[in-house]
Symmetry: C2
């Protein structure tokens, strides 16, 4: 076992990569939510002036990446690699947005864990000496996701109360070998966890066991107590999955309440915005991170953040074949200062 | 620019990771092809004793990984990471095969370039000191791919002569920090290249420009002449795409014929097996590598191999919306000896 590894799942960076830039673009409903004022760009409608929802998603990705590059003060040509993916079949929002860039590209599929997966891999390539600048990029679009995973919006289907609302948004982060932070200090990589949940309208319950498993591994392998973090966020379990995670930890005698939240709960006003159990989709945790959380870190109101992307690795085909929903969760620890690494 | 980087797209490993194990599992048609005797497992039918084509693909992945682990002499629990993906919507063959393993997992989407993408990232994590053992795993299944990308087999649709035949097969490679080789010496990562081809029955033409771009970058950045390699393979352009690549290089005054081939051309007998322009699918280049090429390297008949995975990053949705087909190609250089690194 290499000294960079703390146990099986966690890597600690001796020279933590810096977050040099970040950007976000969102749709109408996200603009109207509690985090609305935080985003770099919020569209007046969800078409983003494109002829299809899929093309709208590509347009959002380009905007988010452009904002992140601008903050980092670099051009796309200076990126060594982009890690990106989305929820659409064959990740087309991503391949079409990167067609416009001139950058070596690694395609990811991690469902809603994609931003955390991209940050994990990007940070390892930067710290390993393979790259000076890497971008992590992802997106989701409510209308494109509905017609692909469920039914086209035109059908007017009703959702069950446990269902989540796919966020319309894209987030991008640029990692750099140098910079004044915040810094990516630890990466805890998830395993596939499947506890047998078959209800595709209850993804929070399907993914919560994966979130719990990765969080436990992170605390054990780093030796950190949850109280080390000012904020621990999952993305995106929604209100129901969040309760399940709190409950799992309560049984271990650990009280996470007060310092734990979920991006799907933070993005929307669950009382007023009719999003049922809250937000979901690759874009949800990506825009909460790039629109809200990294801003909080810049302002100093959050010094240590544990960002945990959670993905449901199923498809409509597997659901129709009676399969349960495998989940995964990747965690990255972000610190305002390098010195905060324990 | 870090000293590990040779130009923009290529990494050279100071301490090249070793290929410690490899495994392959294929279907009936692949068993009947010219490489039939090379594979670790060849099924008598394409169901792999499962109730759906998708589940058959999952079963193949488990077999290929088991063979690779056996050759490497390790258990799945010793893998630090698995990089894996497939062609199915939301990569379900992969998530269900990894549900059975207890391994940190990074999901990829690179279409038919997935094996090369997984090898690239796996090698960087091993050489960067983040892992002792990493597996790269991928698969495709003709029947599952047909109903998803084109039409269900039951419709009996005819294919055009330029179309390729999705291979039924899965390949797995285990990379290790130590071993007697062969060694992964260089990684050249592709950019998205789209020259406007819209015909989804002519993927060879859509992907060939990406293959040409990555090969050119590799030769330029490493300073190597194509004659350095005993064999340069793309996977999978088929017979038409292969001709296009040869033609592009001919215009540059470079004659690749004699040392260049394509996995889609090698896997099947194009005269007798009715596969039109040849094989395709993530599984095609993966099983040609793990069933045939790595065996040739072990026997010493190939000392220096350039393995170039090529992927078409479109979907049926993008095709229906009139979009062209973006391509990508990732190249990895494999040498019998560490000393062969130039």
């Amino acid at each position: 076992m290499d000294t960079k590894k703390l146990g099986r799942q966690t890597v600690r960076f001796a020279d933590p990569p810096a977050i040099a830039g970040f950007g976000s673009a969102v749709g109408t409903k996200e603009r109207q939510g509690p985090l609305g004022p935080c985003f770099d760009y919020a569209s007046q409608d969800d078409t983003f002036a494109q002829m299809s929802w899929e093309k709208a998603e590509t347009a959002m990705q380009k905007q988010a990446l452009a904002f992140a590059l601008e903050r980092a003060g670099i051009r796309a040509e200076q990126l060594d690699y982009v890690f990106a993916g989305d929820l659409l079949n064959q990740c087309i929002a991503t391949s079409y947005s990167l067609r416009a860039q001139n950058v070596p590209f690694f395609g990811l599929y991690g469902a809603c864990s994609t931003m955390a997966e991209g940050l994990s891999l990007g940070a390892m390539l930067v710290e390993g000496g393979f790259a000076s600048y890497v971008a992590a990029l992802t997106s989701s679009h409510f209308c494109a996701a509905e017609r692909q995973y469920r039914t086209p919006l035109e059908y007017g289907c009703q959702k069950s109360p446990t269902a989540q609302w796919t966020a319309t948004g894209s987030g991008a982060v640029v990692l750099s070998r140098r910079g004044k932070g915040p810094f990516l200090t630890h990466v805890t990589t998830g395993k596939v966890v499947d506890k047998g949940i078959r209800d595709t309208s209850n993804m929070g319950a399907a993914m919560a066991p994966a979130a719990y498993a990765t969080l436990r591994a992170h605390f054990q392998e780093t030796g950190r107590d949850p109280s080390f973090y000012d904020l621990i966020v999952t993305g995106d379990l929604g209100s129901l999955g969040k309760e399940i995670v709190l409950d799992f930890f309560r049984r271990d005698g650990v009280d996470l309440s007060g310092r734990y939240n979920d991006c799907g709960v933070m993005l929307f006003d669950l009382e007023k915005q009719d999003v049922h159990a809250g937000g979901s989709g690759c874009g949800c945790s990506a825009v909460v991170l790039t629109g809200h959380l990294l801003g909080e870190m810049a302002r100093g109101t959050c010094r240590n953040l544990l960002f945990c992307g959670t993905g449901a690795l199923h498809s409509p085909t597997s659901a129709m074949q009676g399969e349960s929903i495998p989940g995964i969760c990747h965690a990255v620890a972000i610190a305002a200062e390098k010195g905060a690494v324990s």
